[in-house]
Amino acid sequence: MNIIVGVADMKVSNDPATVLVTYSLGSCIGVTVYDPVVRVAGILHFMLPDSSLDPAKAVTKPYMFADTGIAPLFRAAYELGAKKQRMRVIVAGGAQILDQQGFFNIGKRNYMALRKIFWKNRVMVSHEEVGGNVNRTVKLAVKDGTCRVKVSGAGEFQI
């Protein structure tokens, strides 16, 4: 069964029948985690890099921001028995509009925020599908950790 991870949303699962899906990332970023030993999968779909934009919203909607969304994704996976050193981390999204440099480049800033948080917390990324001008959808199967990325107009492929 597909469980949809919405925009500014996070879900984890250890039900082998479940496939986590997050649609249409645009400049948003989808972070997927998977521990193959305990078969725990999780996806976070965050929109913006930094919760200092709106601290009140960061409390009610922590998954909207990189800095308040990433840690809870990992914690939720740990609660289901996942271990950091076994986790396979995949990052997708962060697309940009053509000629977008600097001003309002949310895709790039989302990615930079994520890299900084991962670097501080020593998280290794197994695979990235980021940047460019394409729109991506990500699916993660709980039973075996298969991760598929669909690029609108260019088909779906397995990572």
């Binding site: 919405g6 925009v7 500014a8 649609y23 249409s24 990332l25 645009g26 400049s27 948003c28 929109m47 913006l48 934009l53 709106d54 919203k57 909607k61 909207m64 999204g93 697309a95 940009q96 509009i97 053509l98 000629d99 977008q100 440099q101 600097g102 001003f103 309002f104 949310i106 895709g107 460019g132 001008n133 394409v134 729109n135 609108s152 107009g153 260019a154």
Partner: protein, 282 residues
């Protein structure tokens, strides 16, 4: 006009024309002398429109504490402006029920995109205290109507279009124009003309990717920015991806800061599920 463009343009006739009520509502809300009575007078005879309007008014998007059971109540509780928006939405939705396969959009995607950018455009127009937020709302709502007609031709030439985008740095719209001889914004302006929309609306729709060329530059800029914010959020993005030109100057000229644009995204992100309910009501 070459023969192929003639064929494409002839496809406009297959669209369902926008009900007259849309134009009437736009002219009423523009007039400071108009009254609630005048607005309900136009709408009340259209039962389908009224039923959809009440469904939308009662959706979680507006979060009313009391149920709205009549047109009159809807106008009282939501105000004329919002009711007018709902009428315009109801009038505009008819052509969006099919998928636009050329653009990789499933049934409902283009409408979700259109409504989302219309709501954001209205929000920006209000912040700018623009005099005609309904025109901006409606232009944003209908700016991609050209895609409905162009979709099948884009589908036939998608490989050529994608080649220009991925290998030669074209925007998707530029590639449409190069390969098909016409792009979805130009076609949208023709449709708006055929539907006898105002000169302003035709101008905004035709220039929604190139607001610098618009006569009504500020209005076109607001619609352009709303579109840009939707693409950033991945709303309504299909096989064209985010392959449209970013106009930094346009974003800056409107007078909003980078941070304010992010606040609009955060605000919209907060109510995406309510927006979905509002869309379902149409």
């Amino acid at each position: 006009m070459n023969k192929d463009i003639g064929t494409i343009v002839a496809g406009i006739d297959a669209l369902r024309p926008i009900p007259q009520v849309a134009n009437k509502v736009m002219s009423i809300v523009k007039d400071p002398q108009s009254s609630m009575g005048m607005l309900s007078e136009i709408i009340q005879y259209d039962q389908v429109l009224t039923a959809n309007l009440l469904k939308a008014a009662n959706s979680a998007y507006f979060g009313l504490s009391k149920r709205v059971d009549s047109l009159h109540q809807a106008i009282v509780y939501l105000g004329m402006d919002k009711v007018a928006d709902l009428v315009l939405m109801g009038a505009g939705s008819a052509n969006y029920s099919q998928p636009q396969e050329g653009y990789g959009l499933k049934s409902g995607d283009l409408w979700r995109y259109s409504v989302s950018s219309a709501l954001i455009a209205r929000d920006l127009a209000e912040k700018k205290q623009m005099e005609d937020p309904h025109v901006v709302f409606t232009a944003a709502l209908l700016k991609d109507i050209g895609k409905v007609v162009l979709s099948q031709y884009v589908a036939e030439s998608i490989e050529k279009i994608n080649f220009l985008v991925s290998e030669h740095g074209f925007s998707f719209r530029e590639a449409e124009k190069t390969i098909l001889g016409i792009d979805h914004a130009e076609l949208g302006a023709m449709i708006a003309g055929k539907w006898r929309f105002s000169e302003k609306m035709i101008d905004i729709i035709g220039n929604h990717h190139l607001p610098i060329d618009a006569l009504y530059r500020e209005e076109a800029a607001v619609v352009y920015v709303a579109d840009t914010l939707c693409m950033t959020m991945g709303i309504g993005v299909g096989s064209d991806g985010l392959a449209y030109r970013f106009h930094k100057q346009v974003m800056g000229d409107l007078g909003f800061t980078d941070r304010e644009y992010q606040e609009v995204i955060a605000g919209f992100g907060d109510k995406i599920s309510q927006v979905e309910e509002l869309i379902q009501a149409n």
